[in-house]
Symmetry: C2
Subunit: 412 residues, 2 copies
C-alpha cells in the first residue's frame, strides 16, 4: 500500500463513535469513509462530524466496496470473529473492539486468516495505551523492575445497569451474564500485563486455572429495581458468578492473578494492575482515582530487605520513564483519552501499520492470546479449577520475517 | 477444671518471649510456670520477668511435670504437630504458634488427638485478633457486607535477611525456601479470612489450586550479600518461587485469592486483605501503613451501580463496628499489639477456654483448615495447578455438643 490515508469504515455506529475524535485528529492518515449500522438513526451524528461519509446497512455490501481499505468492528462481542474473518477475506484490514473471539476455534481462524490474507489485524485494546500503562511498559522494557515474576490485574466494574433496558429486558451484556460462567472480559486487564511481560516477544502464556463465585449481586439488583417477580431476581437465572478469579503461568515462569467482577457493589476499579520483579514493584490505586505507586530498588526510598522500602507515586518517575509516544503526543492523546483511554494511539498504530505494511503493535497473536481466556476460563471453572493450556497460536509468528512495530519510538 | 489460673509452660524461649507481656497482663488467669529451651542462655530474660519460673531443657521431662496445665509451642514450624500431639497425650492443653502442621497426616492426627483427649488446642493465629481484623469480622457477622462472595489476602514480606546467619549458613526459614515450593506460611492471611467467611461455622473450604513463579529474588539477594560463589546465589538452589498464588473455593460458593511472597523487593504488605459481599466491600492498604478502606451500601457515599460509590476509611466505622473485645480492652491489647498484633486476645482466649472447659475461638478444626494449605499448595503447584480438595477435618465437630466460644461478647 503506497497511499498515505487509510479509508476506514466503522461498523457499529454507536460504540464506534468513541473513535470519531481520534479519527479527526488523525485525518492525515485516516479518513472515515463509511459507516455501517442496522439502525439508520445513528447516521446523523456521523454526518455532522464527517459530511462526506457514506452509509451502509448491509455489512456484505460494505465489504464489496472497493473504496474501503479497513473496517473498525464496534459490534457486539459475539460476532467479532466471524465479521473479522469475513472482512479480511474480502481484502479489508481489521481493527476489532474487544474481545477478538469467543472460542478457541474462532481464534485459530483469525490467526490463519491473517496469515493467509496478509491483512493487518489489530485489537482495539485501548487500555494498553493509557499513559500509566505505557509508562510501566517503558519501565519494564528498560529493565528497572528486574526479572519479572508476578503481575496482578482485574476489571472490577459494576455494570449491572447496562445488562437491561428500562423495561427490564436483557441486553447483550446481560445475555453474557445469563449464559456464561467465566471471565467474559479479560482483555482490558490482561492486555497491558501481556505487553509488560513480553508475551509473544520474550515469553508466552503456558496454562491457567479459574474459579468463580456463586452468582448473588446480579439477582439482588434485579430484585431491587424490578421487584422479586422478575426472572432475573433469582440467582439461578444467572450463570455468571460475581467474582471470576484466574491464575496464569507463563512459559518463563511468571505468574498472573486476574479478576473479573461485573456486579459486586463497590467503588469501581477497572484499572487494577500490579507488577513485581526482582528489582521493583508497581501497584495501581484501589479505585480509578487513587494514585498508582511504584518502588524501584536503588531509586526509590529504602531497601526492601532492610524493611524500610517506601512507595513513590508513579507520577514522580514520569520525567524519566514517560513512554515516547506520550512524551511526543500527550496533548492529542489527552484530547481523546479523558474518557476513552488510549484510543488515539490505537487508531494511529492501526493506520500506520497499514500504511507502512507492517504488523501492528497489538497484532492477531497478541489479540487471541488475551481473548482466549474467555473460553479457557469457562472450561477451567466448569471443571472445578482444572488447568487449561493455552494453544500455541503464535507458532508461525516465531518463523515470520514480517516487519515488527517499534514501540520504543515513534509509530507515525 | 475448676481452678482460676492456667499454669503455662513456654516451649521455645526466644520466639515465645513475645507472649510474656500478654501473660503479665493476664496474670489473673495465666501463670508462666516453666520455660523449656535447648539453649539455657534464653532463661535469664524469663527469670527477670517471672522470678519463680522453672526451667527445662527436656520437652519430655516438662510433659511429665504434673504442675503444668498447658504448653505454648513456639518452636520451629516443622516440629509443631508432633510436639502438640505428644503434649496432649501427656494431658496438657496446647497453644501452638503457626502453622499447626506440615502434612495432611499430621493434621488428622491433631484432630483425632483433640477428640480423644478432650484437650484445648488453639492456634496462636494472632492476625485474627488485630483491631481491624476483628472489626471486619464484627461487620461481616452483623451482615453489613451482605452475602459474601470474594476475599483476597496475602503475606508479602521480604524476609530474606532471616534465611541465613552472618556467615551465610541457611537457617530454618531458608531451609523452607530451599526445600519447599508452595505457600509455606498461609495462616496469617487465611486465618482472618476464614473467620470472616464463617469457615467451620456456616461454610467450609472445598478445593484450591496453586501456581508458583520461578525462584529469582532469593538468589539475587544471596549474590548481592555473599557473592556469586555462594550456593544460594544460584536460582536452582531454591525450590520456592518468589510468588505463590492460590485460589480457594468454599462449599457455599465464595472464592478466595491468596498470595505468599517472602522474597520480592517492595514495601511490605503482610496485612493484605479484602472482602466483598453483595452489600459492601473492604480493602486493606497497599502497605502496612496505608489506611484500610470500606464501602457499605446505604451507609457509605454513593451508589455502586450508579457509578458514584466512594470509599470511606475503615476507622470511620469504629464507633459502630468496633469488636466488643477491642471496645472493652483496647488499652491492654494495644499495650501488647503494637509489635505483636492480637497476642493479648490469643492468650486470653486460650486461657479462658481451659478455665471454662470449652472450645477456643480458633480451635483445632479452624487451625488445620488454614494450615493444610501448606501441603495442598505444594501438591497443586507440583501438578501444574491441578485442584486439590480440602479434607473434611471438621466432620466430627458438626456432631459435637461441646460448648462453643462466644466472640460476640466477652471472652474472659
Amino acid at each position: 500500500m503506497t497511499k498515505k490515508q487509510v479509508r476506514l469504515a466503522v461498523v457499529g455506529g454507536n460504540r464506534g463513535f468513541g473513535y470519531s475524535k481520534s479519527c479527526e485528529l488523525l485525518s492525515d492518515i485516516v479518513e472515515v469513509n463509511a459507516i455501517c449500522d442496522l439502525n439508520e438513526a445513528v447516521f446523523a451524528k456521523w454526518k455532522q462530524t464527517f459530511p462526506n461519509i457514506r452509509t451502509f446497512t448491509s455489512f456484505e455490501k460494505l465489504l464489496d466496496d472497493p473504496d474501503i481499505d479497513a473496517v473498525l468492528l464496534a459490534t457486539p462481542m459475539q460476532v467479532h470473529a466471524a465479521q473479522a474473518v469475513q472482512a479480511m477475506k474480502a481484502g479489508k484490514h481489521v481493527l476489532c473492539e474487544v474481545a477478538s473471539a469467543m472460542t478457541i476455534e474462532e481464534s485459530w481462524e483469525l490467526v490463519e486468516t491473517v496469515e493467509q490474507t496478509g491483512a493487518v489485524y489489530m485489537l482495539a485494546e485501548n487500555f494498553c495505551y493509557t499513559r500509566s500503562a505505557m509508562m510501566i511498559r517503558h519501565m519494564a522494557e528498560s529493565g528497572v523492575f528486574g526479572e519479572l515474576t508476578h503481575a496482578e490485574c482485574g476489571y472490577v466494574h459494576d455494570v449491572r445497569t447496562a445488562t437491561h433496558d428500562a423495561q427490564g429486558n436483557i441486553k447483550w451484556r446481560g445475555e453474557m451474564m445469563r449464559d456464561f460462567n467465566g471471565n467474559n472480559y479479560p482483555t482490558h486487564s490482561l492486555g497491558p500485563v501481556s505487553q509488560w511481560l513480553g508475551i509473544n516477544r520474550s515469553d508466552s502464556f503456558d496454562y491457567m486455572t479459574t474459579i468463580v463465585s456463586k452468582p448473588a449481586s446480579q439477582s439482588d439488583y434485579f430484585s431491587e429495581i424490578f421487584g422479586p417477580d422478575h426472572p432475573g431476581s433469582k440467582p439461578e437465572f444467572w450463570k455468571q458468578g460475581d467474582s471470576c478469579l484466574s491464575l496464569i503461568r507463563t512459559k518463563q515462569g511468571a505468574v498472573i492473578y486476574l479478576r473479573n467482577d461485573f456486579s459486586s457493589p463497590r467503588p469501581f476499579n477497572y484499572l487494577y494492575y500490579g507488577l513485581q520483579g526482582t528489582k521493583g514493584s508497581y501497584l495501581s490505586g484501589r479505585d480509578i482515582q487513587e494514585e498508582p505507586l511504584v518502588w524501584l530498588d536503588g531509586r526509590s526510598p529504602g531497601k526492601s530487605y532492610l524493611g524500610n522500602a517506601v512507595w513513590s507515586k508513579l507520577s514522580e518517575y514520569a520525567g524519566e520513564f514517560e513512554h515516547p509516544w506520550w512524551k511526543s503526543e500527550s496533548d492529542r492523546a489527552n484530547a481523546v483519552s479523558a474518557s476513552r483511554f488510549g484510543d488515539y494511539f490505537v487508531m494511529k498504530e492501526f493506520s500506520s501499520a497499514i500504511i507502512q505494511n507492517r504488523s501492528p503493535d497489538f497484532d492477531v497473536y497478541d489479540s487471541v492470546a488475551v481473548s482466549c481466556v474467555l473460553p479457557l476460563s469457562v472450561q477451567s471453572a466448569a471443571r472445578g479449577g482444572y488447568p487449561a493450556s493455552f494453544p500455541d497460536f503464535a507458532k508461525n509468528k516465531r518463523n515470520s520475517v514480517r516487519a515488527q512495530p517499534e514501540t520504543g519510538g515513534e509509530n507515525g
